[in-house]
């Protein structure tokens, strides 16, 4: 019997190694794998590259992980926001590396990693600072920039429902980066609000088929903060 559920967050994250690239789902407060991030803080892996849309908020979660000096490099689209105090401190002090990637290119680079595409030509960022040093090419009259797949060692994902095969649904805008990152890592770990009996999820409405999922922990933590 396939059963991807593991009992504890610690079990789910046990073998994440120093130097890993970790993909963190979520956008804003919605779809954040917050309990898995706390678990990663506990777990101890360091020298991490983190891929996420933002660079953390306040002093918890990703911000805390950074504050503990565990993140060597962050790849994101929107590092600076009202709450990104830890990131800004570390960045000014030269203690963290930053790669800024346009949000759609970030998503597409992970989609490419998940889909076995090595690189692709995109119009986004052509002629801008973010394309500096990158290959370009004109195709069909459009100027395009070459961008490479961005695979993760681990993806931390927040789902609404999961069954024992690892099939996932998300809730409303909680789908965001989660469903993309789930495809792009060697090890995909999921925290789910609800456990679904196998066969009860609509096969037409499974947003992430279990083929992309390795481990699931049941974390019924409730709604995102408003």
């Amino acid at each position: 019997m396939i059963d991807k559920f593991v009992r504890t967050i610690a079990d789910a994250l046990a073998d994440i190694r120093d130097g890993s690239t970790v993909l963190l789902g979520g956008f804003g407060a919605v779809g954040q794998p917050s309990q898995l991030i706390d678990g990663l803080i506990e777990q101890g892996a360091k020298d991490l590259t983190v891929v996420a849309n933002n660079a953390g908020n306040g002093r918890v979660g990703l911000a805390r992980l950074m504050e503990l000096g565990r993140v060597r490099r962050i790849v994101c689209s929107f590092p600076r926001s009202a709450g990104s105090v830890v990131f800004e401190e570390l960045y000014r002090a030269g203690k963290i590396e930053l790669e800024i990637v346009p949000q759609g290119t970030l998503a597409e680079r992970m989609r490419a990693a998940g889909a076995g595409i090595g690189a692709f030509y995109t119009p986004t960022a052509f002629g801008t600072q973010l394309a500096r040093g990158k290959e370009t090419r004109e195709i069909g009259g459009r100027q395009l920039v070459l961008e490479y797949a961005l695979p993760g060692d681990v993806a931390l994902v927040e789902a609404w429902q999961a069954d024992r095969w690892g099939n996932l649904t998300y809730r409303k805008s909680g789908r965001n980066f989660n469903a993309v990152m789930a495809t792009a890592a060697k090890l995909t770990v999921v925290q789910t609000q609800h456990v679904a009996e196998l066969g009860t999820l609509d096969p037409e409405a499974i947003a992430t088929p279990g083929i992309y999922v390795d481990r699931v922990v049941h974390v019924p933590y409730g709604d995102p903060p408003v």
């Binding site: 919605v30 759609g104 995102p224």
Partner: protein
Amino acid sequence: MDMSTWSRPQMAARVAADIPEGWYVNLGIGIPTMVADHVPLEREVVFHSENGVLGIGPAPPKEMVDPWLINAGKQHVTLRKGGAFVHHADSFAMIRGGHLDLCVLGAFEVAQNGDIANWATSENDTAPAVGGAMDLAAGAKRVWVLMEHTTKEGRSKLVRRCSYPLTALGCVRRVYTNLAVLDVTPEGFAVVDVAPGVSREELAARTEAPLRFA
């Protein structure tokens, strides 16, 4: 400034009036977000948000907020009948693939050739936040900019050539400011409309780029 200029709600309403039914539209963070409030629900315009929401409806009253439903500005929103959720790669496929009829963006500067700068305030800004701005500017069928005509210091934001780092090249079609509505044409900015009480001379004086009047 003693001219009678358009207020922000007036600017947003003006943009809203120019959006026909049936368009798929992404509204940038800031003033552009206000545009939605001025499109009557009966005129069906489908609003898109980068975080995978298509068919955004009006902001909910406080007691009706759904914590699972936000827009790209992280504000709580509603979903209209006919709305759909997709993931980030599919959402940006809509953007990059030219499926949005319109994107309305804020900007620091717009150049007379349609270049836009709206994400970083200097070459030396070490950690600017680009978000989805470059994807939207490069991907939408039409880009309109909604912004104040000048900076707080009175410097024109309609320029001959952008001095801030670019977001995308030559993509802006139209600019709505508190002073005027202008089209970007192969010959530069063409004035479509001027705020009441603003003369051509006053407008030209507050605009670095040359203007063409119809």
